[in-house]
Amino acid sequence: MLVGIALAVWALVRLALGYPRRDPALRQLSARDQAFVRAAADAVFPPGGALAISGAEAGTLAHVDRYVASLSPRSRVLIRLLFFLLEHATLFFPAPGWDGFRRFTSLTPAQRAAVLEGWGRSPLAVRRTVFQSLRAVLTMAYFANPTVLRAMGLAPLAIESPVVDADLLYPPIGQPRSAVRATPADRERCVPRTPLDPHGPLDPAYREPA
């Protein structure tokens, strides 16, 4: 009986307590998810170094939340299960050190990196797949930050879209057909059609703030 109660208390503390308050601006992720994504993002993309901005600084958490919100309910559950799994898998694949069994978010940054490294380099293909899935979510979110893409020289270039017949047929998604603004004359508008210059101006969303 006592053992049962002790286990229940331990499970409660491990699973639910001690997380920082949930950022209410984020729609999808729970307090635990948020803490995990923040910690994992900084383990994958730590502060400093050649590409100075860290995962957390790059706004990875907000992007992951937005991404998760855009998914189907089933995909959402899968992603959140992935976070849950890695948060608690230290019970079976602990971090180095006597306290390596603590949940992922309670580990030191070095321990977190070691844990993820262990998943990524595991001889078990399924563990590598789990790691790759997490890293895919975090990497895509990191790359959504314009500063990151600019630093890498890979920010999208400015492009003006010419008007074609289809633009007179389809409104922007979710709007009625009366929202079609293009007219037949717009098709004649002169828009550059030459090869892009890789050193040309960036898309406005990726330009350095003035």
Binding site: A43, V44, F45, P46, G48, G49, A50, L51, R66, Y67, S70, L71, S72, R74, S75, L78, A113, E117, G120, R128, Q132, R135, A136, T139, M140, Y142, F143, A144, L149, M152, G153, L154, A155, P156, L157, I159, S161, V164, D165, A166, L168, L169, Y170, P171, P172, I173, G174, Q175, P176, R177, P184, P192, R193, T194, P195, L196, D197, P198, H199, A205
Partner: protein, 513 residues
């Protein structure tokens, strides 16, 4: 006729549906991807009244997301997170007017004759050869302006592939694509902002509307209606863009039904319509892919990969050995997913991407197969597929040849992305491990966007779902025209062959309704 708003056909969008509705047509086509769009156009051109049903919305440049993850969540089924069980294989199917053509790289390859001969032997076909399909390939090529990718938009990352192949004596071809006026933005995956790619939403679909076709977007066909050997129409619900939330119901009665919902969705529709057209038991079986993987090569000078056609060069040199090599670009965040490691070494590797080119190899598998089934009673698929070790070994050879081509082109290192092999290899001598080791399926991170086989064409009604006109063996007026009808891999990228087969089928059907 110069103003599309005055064309005889029409397009309806989500905001247009405020009540249940019912339509009549000679032919109803389900799915507006490359195969369905060609079929709808040819039927309309033959004077038939056509209703084209598409679950996804039309995307305009204002709707494109340049960011890879957000784009996938809008344009791909299951937000781009679809994968098979068995061997975990991520795979993407689009949900948009134009289907896969909205997000694909526009490579238009004709299936080689040797592969058609194999199809003919294995699937007992007598009228499906390169020569038979040539007029259909030609007509589509002319309509879409399919042409080799010009050198001035290749960008260095594509030309390095050409140079490496040339140095080794391997063939290298500039990719033929359905693109007119490419600017080399490398953004085919998120939608072509320069409107150069002739995706179906801006080519065949408007052309069909011009000829009188009615296009219903954001409608999900949920059932094919049938009576005995005759299909009588389809019914379903309006589906809200991105959420799929069901709206009013609709029904289209038609003299013939053409299914082009794609390799994954078409068998589900048949299964959920009382296991229609499945006396053979083959619907949903033989799920096949071109599993592929990419290798990244880093060069001494900046490659500036942000410029260049998405997939501008390819080598058909190894087709008979079972694989094809290509160049590849995608949103950097998507490409970076396959970089090794984490922490500061990963960040350093990311900075190398400006100096990088990416090649990929795809395998036309001989032994890897699976199946697709309904998950519960939904239109969501449960896909199972197993990567056979023999096919994985072929992919291993593709990886080795990509390494060779990179070093021949002057790369200073490559990132092969193979488990058990160093993250970085700095010379051909170091890369030798890729040649000598037989790779196992679990050593390689694979993905695939080329799918076929689940409604295969077969001369024997007991062993396939459709005949050579793509008419269901068991039905008098039900056709399946998507790439699910391929009996096996087409050896090259599938879209063009799917369209050619769809065109032939539509012309045959036009003579029958």
């Amino acid at each position: 006729m110069n103003d599309p708003r005055a064309w005889p056909g029409s397009v309806r969008v989500f905001a247009d549906y405020d009540r249940d509705f019912r339509l009549d047509a000679d032919v109803v086509v389900v799915g507006s991807g490359p195969c369905g769009a060609v079929a709808a156009y040819e039927l309309a051109a033959a004077g038939k009244s056509v209703v084209l049903c598409e679950e996804g919305p039309p995307f305009t440049p204002a709707d494109y997301e340049i960011d890879g993850a957000l784009s996938m969540s809008r344009t791909m089924r299951e937000g781009g997170l679809r994968f098979t069980s068995g061997t975990v294989l991520p795979t993407m199917q689009a949900i948009a007017l134009g289907g896969g053509s909205l997000v694909n790289s526009a490579m238009c390859n004709r299936t080689p004759d040797f592969r058609f001969q194999e199809w003919a032997e294995e699937a007992e076909l007598s009228r499906t050869s390169r020569a038979e399909l040539e007029p259909h390939y030609d007509a589509i090529a002319e309509f879409l302006g399919i042409a080799a990718t010009p050198d001035e938009v290749q960008g260095r990352r594509n030309l390095l592939f050409r140079d490496g192949c040339k140095a080794l004596g391997y063939s290298a071809e500039s990719c033929p694509r359905n693109v007119v006026g490419c600017r080399g933005s490398g953004e085919c995956f998120t939608g072509c902002r320069p409107r150069a790619k002739q995706s179906m939403d801006i080519s065949y679909v408007p052309a069909a509307i011009r000829l009188g076709a009615q296009v219903l977007t954001s409608v999900r066909v949920e059932r094919i209606l049938a009576s005995g050997r005759r299909a009588t129409g389809v019914e379903g619900r309006v589906a809200a863009p991105f959420t799929g939330a069901p709206g009013p119901s609709f029904r289209v009665d038609a003299k013939a039904v053409v299914l082009a919902a794609g390799v994954v969705a078409t068998p589900l529709l048949l299964q959920r319509s009382g296991d229609l057209a499945n006396a053979s038991g083959q619907v949903g079986e033989h799920l096949q892919f071109h599993p592929g993987t990419s290798v990244l090569g880093v060069f001494p000078d900046p490659v500036e990969p942000v410029f260049g056609a998405t997939q501008g060069y390819q080598s058909l040199h190894f087709l008979r050995e079972g694989f094809k090599l290509e160049t590849l670009w995608a949103p950097p965040g998507v490409l970076a997913v396959r970089m090794p490691g984490l922490g500061h070494p990963l960040k350093q590797a990311l900075l190398d991407m400006r100096f990088a080119s990416v090649f990929d190899g795809i395998v036309s598998c001989r032994r890897s197969e699976g199946r697709v089934r309904e998950r519960g009673r939904s239109l969501h698929p449960a896909m199972r597929w197993t990567f056979h070790p023999d096919d994985a070994a072929v992919l291993g050879r593709a990886i080795w040849h990509m390494a060779e081509i990179f070093f021949a082109a002057g790369a200073r290192k490559i990132l092969p992305g193979v488990a058990g092999v160093p993250d970085e290899l700095h010379s051909l001598a170091e890369a030798e491990v890729l040649r000598t080791r037989r790779l196992r399926p679990s050593d390689i991170v694979v993905a695939s966007t080329h799918v076929f086989g689940t409604t295969r064409m077969h001369g024997d009604a007991r062993r396939g779902v459709v005949d050579e006109d793509l008419k269901a063996h068991d039905m008098d007026n039900l056709y399946v025209v998507d790439t699910g009808v391929f009996p096996r891999s087409p050896a090259v990228n599938p879209m063009f062959t799917g369209m050619a087969l769809a065109r032939r089928s539509a012309l045959a059907l036009a003579g029958r309704v």
